[in-house]
């Protein structure tokens, strides 16, 4: 029942809660097994776009499978909308787009959506209208009668996203939604996600494309070898920049020398001068540039990217 509200579901803010979620894959004969996820604590709030990042084998997909009840935890527990994983009332509020979606290739795009739509409490007319809207939204209206076995990877991703949205989910779980797509396809999927985010959907985005996560997500959890290495907003995760960068025109040689004496890095080229200086001396540098008749073109304080922070975490872990 897509129209079921969060309040009616007994939720106060948290859509996903996990405490000490642990998964050890054991072979048939037992043994110590492989630790895929280690005591993960998660709290995804309503309306939030939450990213889960990590290299291959870090436990991202295991985490999603646990939340969907496809596998069972070795330890800990998770709740969706305040209910146990597997509760059908919670399941009605979820949309899930699997990584590299595999669907029944003997169906057409429209038939696949109709098949999935029948699992929800939608009348025939509602199903039809919803399918039409979604096909239009993901740009697949013209390919609706084509068999899935003839779809390209990008088309399957789009139809995968459409099936995840059939019930107008309050929680959308996306596993590598742009994986394997060309730049245009990836951009279109990202635009769709941004659109859904603006409509207030709670989204869990699992990806190893850090740039994508950085731009789309409000908060991010970084997993590595099954352990949660960090979790927070970009502000919390990315350390503040230690430098400011200025690009100015008409900075004479004398001013450049003064800047260098202040500890700034100065690089003149093609009439423009690029200056990098410590944040503490930013105002001083700016005053000096402008006092000498320099015209400021650009002033920014570049932060490290999520990718840089992530790689430094991985390096620390390896050491």
């Amino acid at each position: 029942m897509a129209s079921e509200t969060l309040a009616a579901s007994g939720i106060r803010g948290s859509v996903v809660e996990a405490q000490g979620l642990t998964k050890i894959y054991r072979s048939f004969f037992g043994g110590t097994g492989v630790l895929a996820l280690n005591k993960l604590d998660l709290d995804v709030k309503q309306g939030e776009t939450f990213g889960i990042v990590g290299p291959n084998g870090s436990g991202k997909t295991t985490c999603l499978k646990l939340l969907l009840g496809l596998i069972y935890p070795t330890g800990g527990s998770a709740r969706l909308f305040g209910r146990k994983v597997g509760d059908m009332r919670a399941r009605r509020l979820i949309g899930y787009m699997p990584e590299a979606p595999y669907f029944y290739d003997y169906l057409t795009g429209e038939q696949l959506l109709r098949y999935f739509a029948q699992f929800f409490d939608l009348s025939g007319a509602q199903q039809k209208a919803r399918i039409n809207d979604l096909l239009n939204m993901v740009g697949m209206t013209e390919r609706r009668h084509m068999l899935l076995r003839h779809y390209s990877r990008g088309m399957l991703q789009r139809i995968g996203l459409a099936q995840a949205l059939l019930n107008e989910p309050q929680l959308l779980i996306l596993d590598e939604p742009t994986s394997g797509l060309d730049p245009v396809g990836a951009y279109q999927i990202r635009s769709l996600i941004t659109d859904l985010k603006q409509r207030g959907a709670t989204i869990i985005l699992c990806s190893h494309l850090l740039n994508e996560v950085e731009h789309l997500c409000d908060r991010v959890a970084v997993l590595y070898r099954g352990n949660l290495k960090a979790c927070g907003t970009m502000e919390e995760l990315l350390p503040p920049a230690s430098e400011v960068v200025l690009v100015a025109e008409g900075v004479n040689a004398q001013a450049q020398d003064k800047l260098r004496q202040m500890g700034a890095y100065v690089a003149p080229a093609d009439g423009l001068t690029r200056i990098a200086a410590p944040v503490a001396r930013a105002q001083e540098v700016l005053n000096l540039v402008q006092a000498d008749g320099g015209i400021l073109h650009e002033l920014r304080r570049p932060r490290p990217t999520l990718e840089e922070v992530f790689m430094s975490m991985i390096r620390e872990e390896a050491e």
Binding site: Y25, L68, I71, M88, Y96, P98, Y102, Q118, F119, F120
Partner: protein, 254 residues
């Protein structure tokens, strides 16, 4: 409940689109038609030969279909990960499994019905007589196939497809040899062997119970009690196997 029918319908569509099943059915029908033209080899007993050949063909081709269907219900869905998107919807694992099984049973029913109509039609053309015993024999065959599909599906919830196929043929062989297994158990000297044979005789299906081909071929009258017993046995055995399969599938990590 609705999910079960939605999944069953999709399973039927899947099965009908599979060229392998179409070929098995076509071969079954061809076998029946060819048999019709070879009755001259048993002068005076053409109808017996036609009935025997026809019912055997339906059983054998039905068996191949049942094993193929049983194997393709759960394991390929897990291997191809098509099950993920379905179980992420408000669909219970039990509903998914029952829907798949129901779809397979409908396909088998359709196949047995098509081959049965051809057999009955051929006999009617030959003798201008309607033999109701054939229908009972077909019901017995259908229940055997239902049990086989359930058994193979149950095996495939935890083992590979190849293992499920091997087990399927093994069950079929044992299922038709239960009378000998019982005799062996009675005369076994070793206590362990005796125990093993008794367990096999008790747990594994007895397809001879559902096989009334000899009686139908001989034109014997089939008592109503036997039909009721066949139906009860088939339904009970299938229910037990499906319940076991449901537990195994529920426990399975996907």
């Amino acid at each position: 409940m609705r999910s079960i029918f939605v999944i069953a319908r999709n399973t039927v569509a899947d099965a009908l689109s599979r060229i392998v099943l179409q070929i098995i059915l076509i071969f079954g029908l061809l076998f029946l038609v060819i048999g019709f033209f070879f009755t001259f080899m048993t002068p005076g007993e053409e109808d017996k030969m036609l009935k025997d050949l026809g019912l055997t063909a339906i059983t054998v081709f039905g068996l191949v279909m049942a094993i193929f269907m049983g194997v393709s219900l759960i394991q390929p869905e897990v291997e191809r990960r098509t099950v993920y998107a379905v179980l992420a919807k408000p669909v219970r694992r039990l509903e998914f499994m029952l829907g798949k099984y129901l779809g397979a049973v409908l396909v088998l029913l359709l196949s047995v019905a098509i081959m049965g109509v051809v057999l009955v039609g051929a006999l009617y053309l030959k003798q201008q007589v309607w033999n109701p015993g054939l229908l009972v024999a077909l019901i017995g065959t259908f229940f055997s196939l239902m049990i086989m599909t359930a058994l193979v599906m149950m095996i495939s919830t935890f083992a590979s497809s190849l293992m499920a196929v091997v087990c399927g043929f093994l069950f079929w062989s044992i299922g038709y040899s239960q009378i000998y297994i019982k005799q062996l158990a009675e005369h076994a000297d070793n206590q362990a062997s005796k125990y093993l044979l008794v367990v096999m005789n008790t747990i594994l299906p007895n397809f001879s119970t559902l096989d009334i081909r000899p009686a139908v071929v001989d034109g014997a009258i089939i008592p109503m009690g036997l039909i009721a017993w066949m139906v009860a046995y088939g339904l009970l055995y299938t229910t037990i196997v499906i319940a076991l399969a449901a537990v195994l599938f529920y426990e399975r990590e996907l």
